[in-house]
Amino acid sequence: MNFDFSDEQKQMRDEARKFLSEQCPPKAVRAVLDGKAAYDKSLWKGLAEMGFLGVAIPEKFGGAGAGHLELCVIAEEMGRALAPVPFSSTVYLAAEAILIAGSDAQKQKWLPKIASGEAIGTLALFEGKGNPSPKAIKLTANGGALNGVKKPVPDGAIADFAVVAARTGSGSRESDISLFIVDLKAEGVEVKELTNIDPTRGQAEITFKDAKAEPLGAAGEGWGVITQVLDRAAVLMAFEQVGGADRALEMGRDYALDRIAFGRPIGSFQAVKHMLADMYVSATLARSNSYYGAWALSTNAGELPEAAAAARISATQAFQHCAKNNIQVHGGMGFTWEFDCHMYYRRANAVAVGLGSLSYWEDALIDRMRKKNAA
């Protein structure tokens, strides 16, 4: 059994960690948090130069042609560093949608631009509150023109293009949904930035008024692609969450060692120790579930839907748990703007709902386990 990343993959993780600790210190995250920039442009450029943006994109489309396991280790480091760049929307959502459903010409057009950092992409799926569902999609596509409103769209205000889920049929079945690629700089597209709990990764409202769109994949097969994209993104995002959870746990541990109260380090009190031990338990369970997700993703195994849901749930719980209790370990200082704890708390709770909420994925997991048991 070799249920671990290879030495080369671990080396890539170390490289990513080193690069991000230099190029993405908390100060860089704060610049975006404080609204000084919409995202960290120089970091984005650096990530492209390191080959991280196209790590899972085949060489013939301008990528490094490595694979999803390599992307997982990079995702973990991106989460750990809270990188304030549109990585997840461009790489996990847009690029994966094009890889799954794009024509050769579409891949040729967009993937090299993603790998080189020239194009920021996203997935425009949601229309207000609620979870992923074909019924929730009201935006229509008629004769290649889109009409409707999408929100929230992750990184929508800085994206160059979006993969948009639109209604092409009259019912609320999965087969009534199709996907389109839309140039967000084109006519008929209106983008409005929204405020959200994690300003280091923006959200937007995008209004389409007879916007020109190009079909992505066959008509009526959009929902199947969305489901696959969400499963892949769930695994990749789980690695970001695992990275964030680990860092929040470390911050709490370090503070508990340094901070003296009642004449001793607070980390010597069992109330604090046990809280940190429980954080370690969550983080460990999440990492192991995510590894299984990584295996399923990288081998395109039939287990991917179940593995992705499990990784998503476990990693969401762990990051929320660790980020929340990291503040608790810090006490009053943890509630200041100056300390970094709130940046992890914000990110943990924003990504917890980003791909659909915990209850959505819990529901999905049970359905998928039942399907497997019945088979």
Partner: protein, 414 residues
């Protein structure tokens, strides 16, 4: 990343599988497969006798304590080979329950601290199941704080005379030998006045009494010592070094990798898939699904955590500390699952026995037994301390009795 054996592992697995196929007591397969939660019971046979027969056969075939050196009854197998063997032994591994304390704790302690003569005399018979060992550490007033134990051993000539009481001793009533830690000097701080021994459980003055547990069962014992004589040749380690010796034993207790702890999740999933509530199947209820999903990912998380440890063994590396979370997670989960299953059963949830409404009282039994999972082999709180101190590097607790002579430590709270 893959779940495959290396060629050598595959070859070893093949040999193990063929041997199990040819030698296992198949007549017990159905009974052993039945439940992962309930105790193992064989309707018409004595568990210990059946276990001894299987263990003996294994020893003859070279499959008992296979990670031990050959001269002490093992096979000299690698850690990963041991894991593969456990996987191939499968349900028959449940028959080895009476030997687990000996194999997992007493044997390694004798191996580390015993004389060459003692090792050659005792270890092969322990491995083959001919002689069963138990562990005599816990006392009524020394559980988590086992170094606070009171049982006294006093030197008289070449012998030691032991008086006191041990508790929670699994298998004491069918054990041949016991690993005993006792206080040899009450005038020094508690950790410094302990010494380790082993003794013949048939010695004069040893009395074994079963404990009636909170769940109504009797699986553990109290062991009383009245002027029990132990020769000095049965001392392990130096006089006063018993605490250090005991760490060998306890480290081995927490090292078992690849042994899956029961979580209750498969049983709960099946239960919810079949339980009809007023509005339909329980598994279609959003609240039930949410809880079930959370438990399932914990259970999966433990499974894949152990796969990570097995992978490390396969590469010849030392597994990381991740495996320390197993009992902490599964113990709490069993208790929570049992209570929730009963909640779903409503007013009938308190019924036990062969009641149809409560699927033969499966979860009721789990509820009553689960508190022990959170206590035995390290309480949840001790396990959290271990994770906090050894994995996260947090400071140890302030120990007010650390430098106090044992006989000056208060013995009552109020």
């Amino acid at each position: 990343m893959n779940f495959d054996d290396t060629p050598q592992e595959a070859e070893f697995r093949q040999v193990a599988r063929q041997w199990v196929e040819a030698n296992a007591p198949k007549e017990f397969e159905a009974e052993l497969s039945k439940s992962s939660l309930g105790r193992i019971r064989l309707a018409k046979h004595d568990m210990v006798e059946v276990g001894k027969a299987w263990q003996k056969k294994k020893a003859e075939g070279g499959w008992a304590c296979l990670h031990w050196p050959k001269e002490y009854g093992g096979r000299g197998a690698t850690p990963i080979e041991r894991v593969i063997w456990q996987q191939e032994e499968g349900v028959y591994g449940k028959l080895t329950q009476p030997f687990q304390i000996g194999e997992g704790m007493c044997g390694p302690t004798v191996m580390a601290w015993g004389s060459e003569d003692a090792k050659r005399r005792y270890l092969p018979k322990l491995a083959s199941g001919e002689e069963i060992w138990c562990q005599l550490f816990s006392e009524p007033s020394a559980g988590s704080d086992v170094a606070g134990l009171r049982t006294r051993a006093e030197k008289q000539g070449d012998n030691w005379v032991v008086n006191g009481q041990k508790i929670w001793t699994s298998g004491a009533h069918y054990s041949d030998y016991g690993l005993l830690i006792a206080r040899t000097d009450p005038n020094v701080p508690k950790h410094k006045g302990l010494t380790m021994f082993f003794l013949d459980m048939k010695s004069k003055g040893v009395e074994v009494r079963p404990i009636k547990q909170a769940n109504g069962m009797q699986e553990f014992n109290e062991v009383y010592f009245t002027d029990v004589v132990i020769p000095d040749s049965q001392r392990l380690g130096n006089v006063g070094d018993g605490w250090n010796v005991s760490l060998t034993t306890l480290m081995n207790e927490r090292m078992s990798i690849g042994s899956r702890l029961a979580t209750g999740v498969p049983e709960m999933f099946e239960f919810c898939s079949n339980l009809m509530l007023e509005d339909g199947l329980a598994i279609d209820d959003p609240a039930v699904r949410s809880k079930l999903a959370s438990w399932a990912v914990k259970s999966n998380g433990l499974k894949y955590t152990s796969y990570r440890a097995i992978s490390a063994l396969s590469k010849g590396e030392r597994p990381g500390p991740e495996n320390s979370i197993g009992k902490l997670v599964s113990g709490m989960m069993l208790q929570d699952i049992a209570a929730y299953a009963m909640d779903l059963q409503g007013a009938a949830g308190s019924l036990t026995g062969m009641s149809e409404e409560t699927v033969h009282g499966q979860f009721q039994q789990m509820l009553l037994s689960s508190p022990s999972m959170r206590i035995a082999g390290g309480t949840d709180e001790i396990l959290r301390n271990i994770i906090a101190e050894r994995v996260l590097g947090l400071p140890g607790d302030i120990r007010v009795d650390k430098d106090v002579p044992y006989n000056k430590i208060p013995t009552k709270g109020r």
